[in-house]
């Protein structure tokens, strides 16, 4: 959907340097009107900083930001039609919840009874009906965060920046809020720029995901593109769990398929433009590996020793080790797992299409 839409935010060669830290490192990015774009990345990688530059709280060291085609260099935050849900909530301590949420509307001089109605709706949306008269310091962490969300969306901005807005919520409420935010975004046709460190959240909600690392964008694309076709080792490792192997290219088997030698085994992998003798890494996702007693032959069969099960509710993780001790994780739906004992000899198998060579 994003492809046909207009570009609303353009980020060009953006850079932000603090005394001794490069927080944002030459970022280029177009954000489409009405899309749901998520920044996903590790702690301290520059997500908040990027958002703050878009909102106008931080001046970039280099590069520029255009909103609606206009360079916003000289536009102070309150003149940008952009709202933010702050990571640290930033609720006004001297106002009650109702006043906090109604603040933006009051600034727009909306009539009082309309404000009251909209505030009520917003509070309902974040499940905080009846909390209107409390002060922020009388709320739990999660409740504060929901107020921060209500305070921003009640203004129906063109672009909404959300900095880990669901970070303090429990899974249940979080799932509900995810659905509701997504719903809201579609309904109001607002552009959401979302920061999260929860990949499941990113994968389910986003139209596109930008994976950030160390101030740079490593890869940008839809959930499926990112998950199924990670372009770098970092992305593969960061999104979902994965098993990373490295080895040497032995030969080309056919178009796009190479045979690679690792310290434990030799096997075919997908790749492009590789040279014989080159050292490469490749990944296999845990859920694409099957553990079996040695039986039907598939593309790849690797000998291993079973080590342990880890129980995480709906999923069972099996840890197995290869000949040289390298550990490989295999996941299975709970209830589906084969019952092995630690020390049992097992075979791992996966389809060649599931093992992918990475750029760096």
């Amino acid at each position: 959907m994003a492809e046909q839409a207009n570009i609303i935010v353009q980020i060009r060669d953006l850079q932000k340097v603090y005394e001794d830290t490069i927080a944002v490192d030459h970022i280029d990015l177009d954000i489409m009107e009405g899309e749901f774009l998520t920044f996903l990345g590790s702690s301290g990688c520059g997500k908040t900083t990027t958002l703050r530059i878009i909102a106008g709280f931080e001046e970039p060291t280099g590069g520029k930001v255009l909103i609606g085609g206009k360079d916003v260099k000289d536009q102070p935050p309150h003149e940008r039609n952009v709202n933010t849900v702050f990571q640290s909530y930033a609720l006004f301590p001297h106002m009650n919840i109702e006043q906090n949420v109604g603040f933006g509307l009051k600034m727009k001089k909306m009539p009082k009874d309309r404000i009251r109605k909209k505030v009520e709706e917003a509070l309902k949306l974040v499940r905080l009906e009846g909390y209107g008269h409390r002060r922020p310091n009388q709320l739990s962490g999660g409740q504060k965060q929901r107020v921060a969300i209500a305070r921003a969306i009640v203004n129906e901005p063109r672009v909404l920046l959300l900095d880990e807005p669901l970070g303090a919520l429990d899974m249940k409420l979080r799932k509900q809020m995810q659905v509701e935010l997504k719903h809201l975004q579609r309904e109001l046709d607002i552009t959401f720029v979302y920061v999260t460190h929860d990949q499941e959240e990113a994968l389910t909600m986003s139209d596109r995901i930008a994976i950030m690392n160390d101030g740079r964008i490593e890869q940008i694309g839809t959930a499926v593109e990112i998950y199924e076709n990670p372009r770098t080792r970092f992305v593969a490792d960061f999104i979902g769990e994965t098993n990373l192997f490295s080895g040497t290219v032995l030969s080309q088997e056919e178009e796009g398929v190479y045979r690679v030698q690792t310290s434990n085994f030799t096997l075919p992998v997908l790749g492009e433009g590789l040279e014989v003798g080159e050292t490469v890494s490749f990944t296999v996702r845990p859920e694409r590996i099957f553990i079996t007693q040695p039986d039907q032959p598939v593309d790849v069969v690797v000998e291993a020793t079973f080590k342990e099960f880890i129980y995480i509710g709906s999923i069972i993780k099996s840890i197995v080790s290869l000949a040289d001790g390298k550990e490989v994780t295999v996941t299975d739906q709970a209830g589906m797992e084969m019952r092995f004992q630690p020390g049992d000899s097992v075979k791992l198998r996966w389809q060649t299409s599931q093992s992918l060579v990475l750029r760096k």
Binding site: H78, T84, F86, A90, G104, M107
Partner: protein, 255 residues
Amino acid sequence: MPKRKIFSKLYMVLIFALLYVPILVLIVFSFNTSKLNAVWTGFTLDWYRKLMGNRDILRAMGNSLQVAFLSTALSTMVGTLAAVGMYRYKFKGKAVLDNLLYIPMVIPEIVLGIALLMFFSRFRVPLGIRTLVIAHATFSIPFVFITVKSRMAGFDSAIEEAAMDLGASPLQTFLHVTLPVILPGVAAGALLSFTLSIDDVITSFFVTGPSTNTFPLQVYSMVKFGVSPEINALSTVMLVITITVALLGEKLKKE
């Protein structure tokens, strides 16, 4: 925990007692028959009666209140803005201005008074309420500035950002967010400013005009012949009024 609470209550009561002991004496002597404010000689309401007929004292009190309110408003505004600006922005000459602002506190009152009088007289500014307000604001601004500045330290600027993000202009942000949060500091500065103004003698003497005598001037010039208990009576009346207003305000706020 409770033991500490008892201690803190006791301490507060003690300090309040110390603050009010001389005030009680002052009130008691407003009912004393002797004019001398020295020994208790008997009960009378004469001083209150006299006070009501004393046009000069009442007018002087009126002038003092007018000057105190105006100069407090002015110095609170200017001082608060300055403190916020100095906290928020970096600019050339900031350190100089910062230090400049301590000077009005350091200048001996009489020097400020005479200097301002020379200044006003040189530029033919008619002496009166206006010049009094200017002079009082001049020595009050630093008190407001320093009080507010100390309150600003460690101010969480994220909430200012939040306000601007929600579409508040810098002025609106200041009025709706910054000001309420630093209000205790501003209120403290305003109270100090009012206290300074309502009790100022020396500077006021020089900058006041022929028809704007102030209450402290009136009191101080009595020293040659003894401060009249009418002053005690007036102070008592003022105290009763302010305390009543304060308590009423508190009561109203609760309801």
